[in-house]
Point group: C2
Chain length 205, copies 2
DNA sequence: CCTACCGATCGGTAGG
DNA sequence: CCTACCGATCGGTAGG
């Protein structure tokens, strides 16, 4: 009797915890795309990791590129969502920049594998997805540039080339996906603090 | 008579300026690897750009990967060579870091296409080349970390995590290959100055 | 540098 | 989710 109840509860939990086959496919694909790159990952590689035949993948997905699209646009959504809390900050542009950097780092550290695919494999998107992607990126980069421009106008920031500045900041931020270890001792907040402190105040004493 | 002499001189100049077929192959391959990635570039793509058949490529090269190896290890050589002038600088660690950054930027800006392949496609190297490559990179990164450690010891730099600092600096530096335009108005030296000023002194006034 | 060709592998479909 | 299979393309070789 007790055993039956236990098994029943276990079955419910499994249903709650277990990922759908489609989710499993996307998760493993993300790992493979990160490790080998999109082009060098075959559907047979992916199927093997999941223990099924390559043809069976197509019961759950439409194409190889569909997986890439899901990853790239889901991450883009995350970055835009994270910007909502940034917009609330208006005390100073230095503070707003810190918030923006922290928000950006939070998204990356939450899923470094998807971030790697987002940053490195987007060029394999076909049209019109590629153009959509690039338009979103330009929008997002423009928001960082706006903070820089506002900070220069208010006299908080040095006079710099805003685009150059934005590219430098984002490259430092984006690179974290390569070395951040979620099970390490550094929290996402600490990474954000260190990076914003460095980029705003410099290495010199 | 004059025409014959002119043609003769022209022929000599052409010989001096004209790249060997092997050099042409490497140059076009670099462009394609940058644009589409190594794995997504086929030997038929490469042959088409050169106006020959894919099979003809193999009179000049041994394999597709050989081209990638050439690009990656040539760039690695350039980075190590550029370090020689850095070693001479010992007035201060801030100055040495500036020199190191300028040297690094100089190599990247001199050949942004090869740099892109170097930074993005090295993972397609097979063993033992991959291990060699990673060992060289670790050596190079260690040199930047040494400057940071020395600068902290001398009291010039803030107390930071040296590895974190090194990764942040190099990511900013390395990203330049993505946006630097050799025919634009910004000289390699100016890029180096701006980046070292930002990373050493920060954006805040 | 070409023609002709190789075996292997690719993304994906049909039908059950 | 599988078997069986498709046409296309891959890196590369033989022989001239």
């Amino acid at each position: 009797m007790l055993t039956n109840v236990s098994l029943y509860i276990f079955a419910i939990m499994e249903t709650l915890v277990k990922k759908s086959r489609k989710e499993q496919i996307e998760e493993k694909a993300t790992q493979l795309f990160q490790e080998k790159g999109y082009a060098a990952t075959s559907m047979r590689d992916l199927a093997q990791v999941l223990g099924i035949e390559a043809a069976s993948l197509y019961s759950h997905i439409k194409s190889k590129e569909e997986i890439l699209q899901k990853i790239c646009f889901r991450m883009a959504d995350e970055f835009f969502k994270s910007w909502e809390e940034v917009e609330k900050e208006n005390s100073s542009m230095a503070e707003k920049m810190k918030k923006a950097m922290a928000a950006h780092i939070k998204v990356i550290t939450q899923d470094t594998a998807s971030s790697a695919v987002f940053f490195n494999e987007w060029r394999h998107l076909s049209e019109p997805h590629l153009s959509d992607f690039l338009a979103m990126r330009e929008d997002y980069e423009g928001r960082f540039m706006q903070i820089i421009n506002d900070g220069m106008a208010s006299g908080e920031f040095k006079t710099v080339d805003p685009k150059f500045m934005m590219l430098t900041i984002l490259s430092s931020l984006n690179w974290t996906h390569n070395w951040y270890n979620p099970s390490g001792s550094l929290s996402p907040l600490e990474v954000g603090d260190r990076l914003s402190n460095l980029l705003l105040n410099g290495l010199n004493k």
